[in-house]
């Protein structure tokens, strides 16, 4: 099969699986997950074939795999859609395919396949427990299977379709379609346990917040189309068009057309990749099942935001030369990215929920990528996107495994402790060794543990680029964020796995099944090795041991290949120091946290801790600024004033006028004249009848007398009056 046909086929299996499961096999849990997993495997296989073939092509950047078909007839022309695999797509396909496959496999274990049906489980609520009896007659509680098991696999199938579609698209329109499909799926999956009010609130919040960004992105797409007449990437990204867009004025704030488009498109990413100020949905998205969190945070949704700005980088940077001032779009990205990276990292420090810490860490790491792209470090951003997908997917699946182990302990002991609160954990390294070691690898990759972890190489490249390009503010902010990242990661590891168990449930936690641990091991492998492809060739000691092809390969996506920055010890030392320093600090502070004790940070940070714990009050602020005004507008303004007051008022007034008009007609015309005449006729006839009815006696002889009287009367009258001469 040609590579192009394979690319066309990559997104199809998951969507077929979605329809098959929804329409036909949703009764059979086994069949449903087999179909979903099979579809994910097919897409994975296709992606790997494409990836390997892409690596073998020389100058893939100049001659990517493309294929397009006429789709929408326009006046005298066709709107074409098609597929495109250039180096950026190839590496994205690689990590997307692996993480999606692993998440699908993990979901089988996570949703307790093979366990009995729960005693009181309810569709739309997380499964509680089932009671089983062993051969000795003892009953005990075991985890029960998810009631909506098949539905879950259908949804993540659709989710995977959205991501694959977005990745292989060669134009912004189909990219946007995939983008929105993922928006829908995130809504459905965050609210997968829809009977929980918190999950319902989170699903709506996620959908509404990302929608804000999406509207601006759609505006950007429309503007781009109106200016260039095409949405195909390869037609937009040529020297001439970009030059023209960069020099045309948009007539708004002195921005060039390219600048305005860039900012609008970037706002889509702000929503999708949860950058400040639209970051609020992502932590709440933790209401969904853990595989969904991994799906959103690693494989698909938030990566899609970064992928889109990577893809649109030529447009964002149109008119920008190495060494000159950043374009407005890039400047905004650098600011928002760096700010978000630090901002989210500080919140993560003060959170106790194992998944929410990771959620804020995702926001922070995405901020890294955005900031890297904002300062023009294209390859570094792409590199961090890849490594982050692996280690963050790993961390999420690991945290899900921890929660699962804790839930097992909760069921065993019967204590009602929160299985997600890290202060209830501790000492899990002995209970869950596989989860511990893989989580440790993921955590070290996240904090950028020097040399062996993937996160170190990608983060180091970003810092080196920031330093090399002279963006010192960004450099310092990102370094601080890295320090905090290492700190909260170690805090998480220490609280979860080290020390002694701080609750009975943690003491009885148990390692999870192979369907959950195998994905952890696979992703841990990539969390280490994915960094090796990007080790700078000039790195002292180990540079060049593994061929460093990533930079040249991905860099060739752009028209002008970016030069690797000069090797410099300052950023290297900085990243080593912040990573190790943060890890050490975290270990010192949290290595022997005791049960019942407060977080040591409470004393150190004081009031600041409360602010961090409440996430800088952003939820409250947005509630005050947007949610309540929206409620006010809909309830008081629209409903009470406009609808009830003006519109209903108008209707009621018309009704009242018509009513009084009708009353006038009725009282003055209908009743006296028309009714009066009709009644008069009737009454007269009635009275006449009543007057004369006495003659009708029923006695035949009286009739006879009457007839005679009348006959004689008539006769007399005739004879004496009429016949008078």
């Amino acid at each position: 099969m040609t590579t192009e046909s394979i690319i066309w086929l990559i997104p199809l299996p998951p969507v077929l699986a979605f329809f098959l499961i929804v329409l036909f096999t949703n009764k059979s849990k086994w069949l449903s997950h087999t179909i979903a997993l099979g579809a994910a495997s097919l897409s994975w296989l296709g992606s790997m074939v494409v990836f390997v073939r892409a690596l073998q092509v020389e100058h893939l950047g100049e001659h990517p795999f493309t294929s397009a078909i006429n789709w929408l007839p326009l006046a005298g022309d066709w709107f074409e859609i098609g597929v495109l695999v250039d180096p950026l797509t190839a590496v994205t396909l690689f990590f997307v395919a692996w993480t999606i496959l692993m998440i699908f496999l993990y979901s089988i274990g996570y949703h307790n396949f093979g366990q009995p049906t729960g005693d009181h489980d309810h569709p739309g609520l997380p499964p509680h427990a089932a009671t089983v009896a062993d051969e000795h007659g003892h009953t005990h509680k075991v985890p029960s299977i998810e009631p909506l098991y098949s539905r879950f696999f259908a949804f993540i199938g659709l989710f995977a379709f959205g991501m694959y579609l977005l990745v292989v698209s060669d134009n912004l329109l189909t990219l946007f379609v995939g983008w929105e499909i993922m928006g829908l799926c995130s809504y459905l999956l965050i609210g997968f346990w829809f009977a929980k009010p918190s999950a319902r609130a989170a699903m709506i919040k996620a959908f509404m917040t990302t929608r804000v960004g999406d509207v601006f992105m759609l505006l950007g797409i429309v503007y781009l189309y109106s200016q260039t007449g095409t949405l195909t990437f390869r037609e937009i990204f040529n020297e001439e068009t970009l030059q023209q867009l960069a020099t045309t004025s948009s007539g708004l704030l002195g921005l060039s057309a390219a600048g305005l488009m860039g900012i609008l498109l970037f706002m889509g990413t702000v929503g999708k990749s949860a950058q400040w100020p639209l970051h609020v949905w992502l932590p709440d998205a933790m209401e969904g099942p853990t595989p969904v969190s991994a799906m959103i945070h690693a494989a698909t949704m938030v990566s899609a935001g970064i992928y889109m700005i990577l893809r649109m980088f030529p447009l964002l940077s149109a008119g920008w030369q190495e060494g000159t001032a950043l374009t407005p779009a890039l400047g905004i990205m650098a600011f928002i990215g760096a700010f978000t990276a630090l901002f989210a990292a500080t919140i993560a420090v003060a959170n106790n929920d194992i998944k929410r810490v990771l959620a804020y860490s995702t926001i922070s790491q995405l901020g890294y990528m955005v900031a890297a792209l904002g300062i023009g470090a294209y390859v570094a951003a792409a590199f961090h996107l890849v490594t982050h997908a692996f280690f963050k997917g790993l961390l999420f699946l690991g945290s899900g495994s921890v929660i699962h182990g804790m839930e097992h302990g909760v069921l065993h002991t019967g204590d009602h402790v929160d299985p997600q609160d890290m202060f209830n954990m501790g000492g899990l390294r002995k209970k869950m060794p596989i989860t511990f070691w893989t989580f440790l690898i993921g955590g070290f990759a996240l904090s950028g543990f020097p040399l062996f972890s993937a996160g170190f190489w990608s983060k180091d490249e970003i810092l080196a680029d920031a330093f090399g390009h002279g963006q010192f503010v960004v450099f310092i902010v990102l370094a601080l964020a890295a320090l905090l990242t290492a700190f909260y990661t170690m805090r998480q590891i220490a609280l979860t796995f080290l020390g002694e168990p701080r609750s009975e449930a943690a003491n009885h936690a148990q390692e999870t099944k192979w369907t959950m641990t195998v994905p952890l091991v696979v992703l841990a492998f990539f969390a280490v090795t994915a960094g090796w492809v990007g080790i700078p060739a000039h790195f002292p000691g180990i540079g060049g041991l593994v061929p460093s092809w990533f930079h040249d390969f991905v860099g060739s996506t752009l028209l002008e290949h970016p030069e690797a920055v000069e090797f410099n010890f300052i950023p290297l030392l900085t990243s080593v120091v912040v990573a190790l320093g943060g890890l050490y600090l975290g270990w010192v502070v949290y290595k022997d946290a005791r049960a019942g004790e407060a977080d040591p940070l409470v004393n150190t940070l004081g009031g600041l801790y409360t602010v961090l714990r409440n996430k800088y009050y952003f939820d409250e602020l947005y509630d005050f600024l947007f949610v309540r005004p929206a409620y006010w507008i809909s309830e008081t303004f629209t409903y009470k004033w406009m609808d009830r007051g003006v519109i209903d008022g108008l209707l009621h007034m018309i009704a009242r006028v018509m009513f009084s008009l009708g009353s006038i007609f009725r009282n003055w015309i209908d009743k006296p004249l028309v009714n009066g005449f009709a009644d008069l006729v009737g009454e007269t006839v009635k009275r006449l009848g009543r007057t004369f009815r006495f003659v009708q006696t029923g006695r035949v002889q009286q009739y006879m007398v009457m007839a005679l009287v009348i006959a004689f009367g008539t006769l007399f009258y005739y004879l004496f009056f009429l016949l008078q001469p």
Binding site: Q696, G698, R699, Q701, M704
Partner: protein, 102 residues
């Protein structure tokens, strides 16, 4: 020969007696008998006028015969009605047979 007026006076007297019977009697059968008298008074008139005014034709006789036939039929129907009323209401008094009043 008896003048015509005698017959006419006789017939008028007979008719008046019949009419009085019809109007004044209570018994329905008596009323029917009054009607017979009136019919026969008419018959007397018919025959008297035939004999004195047009003895050549037979129209007067024919009419008289026809009146007999009608009277017979009428009595038959009338008596049947009276019997039927009597069976239902146990009376033949015309005063009390007043179902058809308002």
């Amino acid at each position: 020969m008896i003048p015509l007026s005698y017959y006419l006076v006789f017939a008028a007297a007979l008719f008046s007696i019949g009419l009085y019977g019809v109007l004044a009697r209570k018994n329905a059968v008596a009323i029917l008998m009054g009607i017979e008298l009136m019919l026969n008074a008419v018959n007397v008139n018919l025959l008297a006028f035939w004999r004195y005014r047009a003895p050549d034709g037979i129209a007067g006789q024919a009419f008289a015969v026809m009146v007999f036939a009608v009277a017979a039929a009428e009595v038959a129907v009338g008596l049947a009605l009276v019997i039927s009323v009597y069976r239902r209401r146990n009376t033949v008094a015309a005063d009390e047979i007043d179902l058809l009043k308002w």
